[in-house]
Amino acid sequence: MVMVINKWKRRLKAKQKIIDPDQELIGRFLKGDEGAFNRLVLSYQNRVHGLSYRMMGNLEEAEEVAQEVFITVYKSLPDFRGDSRFSTWLYRVTINHCKNRIKYLGRRKYYQSDSFDGPVETEEGEMTKQIADDNLDPMDRLDQKETQALVQEKLNELDEEQKSVILLRDIEGMSYQEIAEILGLREGTVKSRIHRARLDLKEKLKKEFSQ
């Protein structure tokens, strides 16, 4: 008897919707509270902007995409069913917008332009792309700040699928499961894609340093 009750309890638990910390704000927005939408934007703008910057590799494009993401969210929130967390959905929207934008810009043409020769903004302000010339093991230079621009450049050379898994894993620090949910892939696929992406990136960097 107890076992049957426990079984039902478990089933009920499984059926319950995912507890989402943003649920309250979303509810308020759907009732017409524009301020609630502002709060959602404020709490996610940095993550969305940061991710789109790494995906796009360009500040202007990143801001443009991030705004598009929130406009999409504003328009489609009434259709958001709550099957996943809001943040998962938001990352999915962001990744999709970035992929579309990269396709639209014509990947090769855009990245072959001189957008990476100019100064690159970092937390510490602007810096120029330069590679230290010393006698360290080439790969050890990856530790140095100046190589950030180079890493970004090589990231841009990966295809969008590889880039998105590697960013979600290594910049956003998400689990394989979360990434699978965002990208609509199986966990095994995410695993192998992350590995593949890291190998490709490593090869590109190695080639750059051994020149």
């Binding site: 927005f29 759907l30 009732k31 017409g32 509270d33 524009e34 301020g35 502002n38 709060r39 934007v41 404020l42 703008q45 940095n46 993550r47 969305v48 902007h49 940061g50 910057y53 790494r54 500040l59 990143a62 801001e63 991030a66 705004q67 929130f70 406009i71 504003y74 328009k75 929130l77 009434p78 903004e121 970092t122 937390e123 790969m139 050890d140 990856l142 530790d143 190589t147 950030q148 890493v151 970004q152 990231l155 590697i166 960013l167 894993r169 290594d170 910049i171 394989y176 695993k191 992350i194 590995h195 890291r198 190998l199 990136l201 490593k202 960097l205 190695k206």
Partner: protein
């Protein structure tokens, strides 16, 4: 690289991400101790991963929300709010309700038309002055005008004549007949309140021009701020000739000079709608906007 190495190297990412089960972990560690090639390979993969992890996350610009709201205001086609969309969907799902609404409105209009003789006549003889139609020539002592017609008549405010009828030769009933206004329909409720005519007229006027009357520069700026969705939830403090608006990131001081305020009143008198975004308002009314970092923003 031999086959065994390949098998181990496939697991390097799992190893870096700590996603290996303890058994595989031990196996891999044992192999690494013996194989310098694999050690070097793992080291490079780890450095690559670290390099990506060390990339700084660039936060959104501080005015991101304001720019976003401005963009949404410019967006071609309405960026529909959730509520409006839901309401439309709700209505579409219930056509019978809309039908019922139509029936109600039309039957209401029909009934009003029937029981409001002034309206009927005004409609039938539209070229006739509706007042003339109801105020009969004063026959000696039988009629007396209780209220004088106000000399100054606002275009918007209905002028109501109250005609008190002494027993008339024809009907013989003691009627208080409210009669028509310039718009051509009767407003009986106004006739009742005519004793307080002056106040009535004033408040009517204020209602029909809510934006023009009773507005100061401060109130005007606050209205502009309220009409900008980006400032929803912002704290607004009135100051002389303007207001302070505090958002999570910034403090805005928005003021308007007297001359520009007079120009703004002309704009309002033309009944143009307020521009939604404060940036548009700034252009339209020459607002002076000072943007400062929010002094109350918590520091990390």
């Amino acid at each position: 690289m031999n086959k065994a190495c390949e098998k181990f190297q496939d697991r390097f990412s799992d190893f870096i991400d700590r996603e290996l089960n303890p058994e595989d972990w031990r196996g891999l560690e044992q192999h690494l101790e013996q194989c310098p090639e694999c050690r070097q390979e793992l080291r490079m993969l780890r450095l690559t991963t670290e390099a990506v992890r060390k990339l700084p996350v660039l936060p959104a610009p501080a005015d991101f929300l304001i720019k976003l709201r401005q963009k949404m205001a410019r967006e071609p086609g309405p960026v529909q709010a959730g509520v409006f969309r839901q309401a439309t969907r709700w209505m579409i799902a219930r056509p019978s309700l809309i039908a019922a609404g139509f029936v109600l409105v039309f039957s209401g209009a029909f009934l009003l038309g029937r029981f409001n003789p002034a309206a009927g006549i005004a409609m039938q003889h539209s070229e006739m002055d509706p007042v003339q139609a109801w105020v009969q020539p004063i026959a000696a002592d039988n009629w007396r005008l209780e209220e004088a017609v106000p000399t100054k008549v606002s275009a918007r405010v209905s002028t109501v004549y109250k005609v008190a009828a002494a027993p008339s030769p024809a009907g013989g009933s003691n009627l208080s007949m409210p009669a028509a206004s310039s718009a051509g329909y009767a407003r009986p409720e106004l006739a009742e309140s005519l004793s307080a005519k002056d106040e009535g007229e004033k408040s009517q006027e204020a209602q029909s021009h809510p934006q023009v009357f009773l507005q100061t520069p401060t109130q005007f700026v606050i209205n502009l701020l309220r009409s900008d969705p980006a400032f929803q939830g912002a704290k607004i403090y009135p100051v002389s000739r303007g207001a302070l608006a505090q958002t999570p990131e910034f403090l805005f001081r928005i003021t308007i000079s007297d001359q520009n305020f007079i120009n703004a009143l002309k704009w309002l008198a033309d009944k143009k709608p307020l521009p939604g975004a404060i940036e548009e308002s700034r252009k339209a009314f020459n607002l002076e906007i000072e943007k400062m970092p929010n002094p109350l923003k918590p520091t990390k």
